[in-house]
């Protein structure tokens, strides 16, 4: 009897419509809000990054399972790594979508003329501007009061902000709409959410470069600040930023590549995704810094103009006699004739460098600094709308990966997949997350988001990544994995990958982990609180976390990591019990190739 030709496997697993969808999803997951608002000099060290990315993509492709089952297949003792990934994905999804809520709030407010963050409201008896707004800026007021309604302390929870709840519901509804059937729906949505940001970045690039002050901003971008680079904390942030930037250790990448056909060049994919991620960061930094330079220059000019008005009014000089150019000459002249009178004016010293240094990173960049720059541009509504839609798309494509990291493993748990249709599972995930995320809409919500970001989104990733590399390199063994890789890509595994997986990556991860923990323990965990009653307001007040909050921080960092030893222990106990049973047959040695070739023969009759 002739052996019939290989029929493509029909294991009922969903698959990508085409390769481009898969690559775009991985890029969308990796490219997120951090690429725009964390400074590039923090993000571009890729010694630890690409090998782990390659590892995760290869693993998912070979095993064709979500993170929990995949690690269970590698070794039952390592099943906890998958569970830890699931936990981290859940925790990160909760607060990441709240950041998108803020973006959506700003987006729907961008349709108002004039922009609501450009003017201060009046105070109660209409004699002047609102005090909190007047002392800080209108942009700060809109962010801290009108959006967050922030409380002065993390222990003071405040009330639920109804407008944020509405936006949160809308955001989770959008996430549900796009992930309702897993990659069937996200695969279509990703075409828009992954490509649109690049269009907007290009528009901002062209416009930003035409603004005055763009060159100053770009010069600032490309001159490394040696003081900052000497701080070890900065390098540590850079190292952890890689994991967050490439979205490693979330389980989402494993989920994405598990929907691939087995014979796919995952090495090329990994390198592509990593390169695109880096290029996007650099590409995004150019319009961002041009606009920041514009804002700094405008601030500098404003400072000068205010000083000039004070001097002109005081000395009753004709208007426009002092210009920005001859300001310093005039000051020296007036200082030499009557220094006391000049000192009595209390002129602020205007320094362009100081204005450039004010450019923060993180959410402050988008919601405070950039919004202020947008007010100064003509046609500010359009720029605001474009900017916030871009941020929303960036964040949404990352959310797809986070949700896939939760959805795929849960879908493979046998109890769930038989009884619940996909739409209901994703609905349950979104609804449960929405209810939990309501905590972040409290007055103290943004403090909690910072806590989640610093503790749940940093340390566990390092631990998970470490165990991933160790698991593949030493438990599954590199030789077996090389054979699997050869079967999948058709090429022998490059020595570079073997060396990095066996030695360099685990070592780097260990060093970063130890450094991180050491630095954390050394300094007291503080946070910056927005307190209008603070004596140095609008400078933020540095406060220390109370003990119960610190306990929560430790819990957040430890909870995902605990699962790794826990599951190993459970399996050990099961194994010991089973080994006493004489009829126990040890499980077969798993191989990626055999696993996949089981499906390649049609059913024998």
């Amino acid at each position: 009897m002739d052996v019939p030709p290989e029929v493509p496997k029909e294991d009922g697993r969903p698959k990508w419509d085409n390769k481009f969808q898969y690559i775009l999803s991985c890029i969308g997951f990796a490219v997120g809000l951090g690429n725009v608002w964390r400074f590039p000099y923090l993000c571009q060290i890729h010694g630890g990054g690409i090998p782990l990315l390659h590892l995760e993509l290869a693993l998912g492709q070979c095993l064709r399972k979500g993170s929990i089952n995949a690690w269970h297949t590698i070794s039952p003792y390592l099943g906890g790594v998958g569970v830890a990934s699931l936990m981290v994905s859940i925790l990160v999804s909760l607060y990441y979508n709240t950041i998108l809520t803020w973006v959506m709030w700003y987006f729907i407010n961008s349709f108002q003329e004039p922009l609501p963050w450009s003017i201060c409201p009046l105070n109660e008896n209409r004699t002047g501007l609102n005090e909190e707004c007047y002392e800080s800026t209108a942009v700060n007021y809109f962010w801290y009061r009108k959006t967050l309604n922030i409380t002065p302390d993390v222990t003071d929870s405040g009330t639920l902000q109804w407008w944020l709840i509405l936006c949160l519901a809308a955001c989770w509804a959008i996430v549900y709409l796009c992930t309702i059937r897993g990659i069937e729906t996200t695969g279509k949505a990703i075409y828009v959410t992954a490509i649109f940001p690049y269009l907007v970045l290009t528009i901002f690039l062209i416009h930003g470069l035409s603004l005055p002050g763009a060159t100053e901003g770009l010069v600032y971008l490309f001159t490394p600040n040696l003081n900052i680079l000497q701080n070890p904390r900065v390098w540590l942030d850079a190292a952890t930023q890689i994991f967050f930037s490439l979205s490693l250790a979330f389980g989402g990448l494993i989920a994405f590549s598990s929907y691939n056909p087995s014979k796919n060049d995952c090495e090329k994919d990994a390198v592509t995704v990593a390169i695109v991620n880096s290029i996007t960061s650099l590409y995004a930094s150019i319009p961002v810094f041009s606009v920041l330079g514009f804002k700094a220059l405008t601030g500098y000019w404003d400072c000068l103009d205010r000083n000039i008005i004070s001097v002109i009014n005081e000395y009753d000089l004709p208007e426009q006699s002092i210009t920005r150019q001859n300001y310093t000459d005039w000051i020296t002249f007036l200082n030499s004739s009557n220094p006391e009178k000049l000192a009595g004016l209390k002129l602020k010293s205007c320094d362009l460098q100081e204005f450039l240094d004010q450019s923060v990173s993180g959410s402050g960049l988008a919601f405070i600094v950039f919004t202020q720059a947008i007010i100064l541009m003509p046609g500010s509504q359009a720029w605001a709308i474009l900017f916030f839609v871009m941020l929303f798309s960036l964040g949404l494509s990352s959310m797809f990966g986070n949700i896939e990291g939760v959805f795929t493993p849960l879908l493979e748990v046998k109890v769930i997949s038989k009884s619940i249709p996909k739409e209901l599972l994703s609905g349950i995930i979104c609804l449960a997350s929405f209810l939990f995320a309501l905590c972040f809409t409290l007055g103290s919500g943004s403090y909690w988001i910072d806590i989640f970001d610093s503790y749940a989104g940093s340390l566990p990733l390092l631990v998970i990544a470490f165990f991933e590399v160790i698991g593949v390199a030493y438990v599954y063994k590199i030789k077996r994995f090389s054979k699997d890789m050869k079967w999948m890509t058709g090429r022998k595994l490059n020595l570079y990958w073997q060396i990095t997986w066996k030695f360099i990556s685990p070592l780097l991860l260990l060093i970063v982990f130890v450094a991180f923990v050491t630095l954390q323990i050394q300094k007291k965990p503080t946070y910056a609180a927005w307190n209008p009653k603070y004596e140095h307001f609008p400078v933020k007040e540095q406060k220390v976390y109370p003990p119960w909050v610190q306990a929560i921080c430790v819990l957040l960092a430890a909870l995902p990591c605990i699962f790794i030893p826990l599951v190993a222990l459970i399996h050990l106990i099961k194994r010991m019990r089973r080994s006493k049973d004489p009829s126990f047959v040890p499980p077969e040695i798993f191989s990626c190739q055999e696993f996949n070739s089981n499906f390649s023969h049609p059913p024998q009759k």
């Binding site: 709030w105 809308a170 549900y176 709409l177 309702i180 009014n313 000089l317 426009q320």
Partner: protein, 226 residues
């Protein structure tokens, strides 16, 4: 006669000099920023403009209080600088030696501020009466906040999308269930063995493009009739 006139004149001018000087009682400082407001269309500040200013202040006092009989000559200007800034004071029309109380002047100017501003093509910021604070107009707020409208539009689009996808998913599931029950029924009757002819399952041949070959058609003709 001439001597008396000269004496009277000097008394008046000394008196007015005493009435109008920087930080005098009931005197106000005014500051104009014409170039900032008008740019290239800025006019020069000269005696004619000063005359207009005096006229406006007299008008303001008259408008404020119907009993007032302030004349242009009752408004005294002094210390005009290049900035353009000066001090002014309003003397009582009945007695030239006293000045109108500052509170009255302030109230009058507050009431007619926009008339004064528009006479000079300036605004509250560019024509400043120091010591007289302006009442700020509240920002215009629409009855329904704009963001609520946009939010409503966005949310309705999302809900429509979700409903569509869920309903289509349910329909697909129903179709699949119907197909699988049909298949089960056929299997129960034992008629489905997927026989393969040249790699094509016979089932599809039957369902799709099977033509009955007319030569072999009639079953009853297989057997010759008895």
């Amino acid at each position: 006669m001439l001597g008396v006139l000269l004496l009277a004149f000097s008394v008046v001018s000394v008196a007015s000099a005493e009435l109008c000087k920087p930080d005098a009682q009931n005197a106000f400082k005014v500051r104009l920023s014409i170039k900032t407001a008008l740019g290239d269309n800025a006019y020069a500040w000269d005696a004619n403009e000063e005359y207009l200013f005096k006229a406006m202040i007299a008008f303001t006092m008259r408008r404020y209080s119907s009993k007032s009989t302030t004349q242009i000559s009752n408004v005294l200007l002094c210390n005009v600088t290049d900035r353009v800034s000066f001090w002014f004071v309003v003397t009582d029309s009945s007695k030239n030696t006293t000045t109108v109380p500052g509170s009255e002047v302030e109230a009058a100017i507050r009431m007619n501020r926009n008339r004064i501003n528009s006479a000079f093509l300036l605004s509250d910021k560019t024509l400043q009466f120091l010591k007289i604070s302006t009442t700020l107009s509240p920002p215009v707020e629409p009855s329904t906040p704009v963001w609520l409208i946009v939010f409503g539009v966005v949310l309705s689009l999302i809900v429509a999308g979700i409903v569509f996808l869920v309903v289509s998913g349910i329909q697909q599931r129903k179709k699949k269930n119907k197909e699988s029950t049909e298949r089960e029924n056929l299997e129960e009757k034992g008629e489905v063995t997927i026989t393969i002819e040249n790699g094509i399952p016979c089932e599809t041949l039957d369902l799709k493009a099977g033509h009955v070959n007319g030569v072999f058609a009639a079953d009853d003709e297989r057997f010759t009739s008895l």
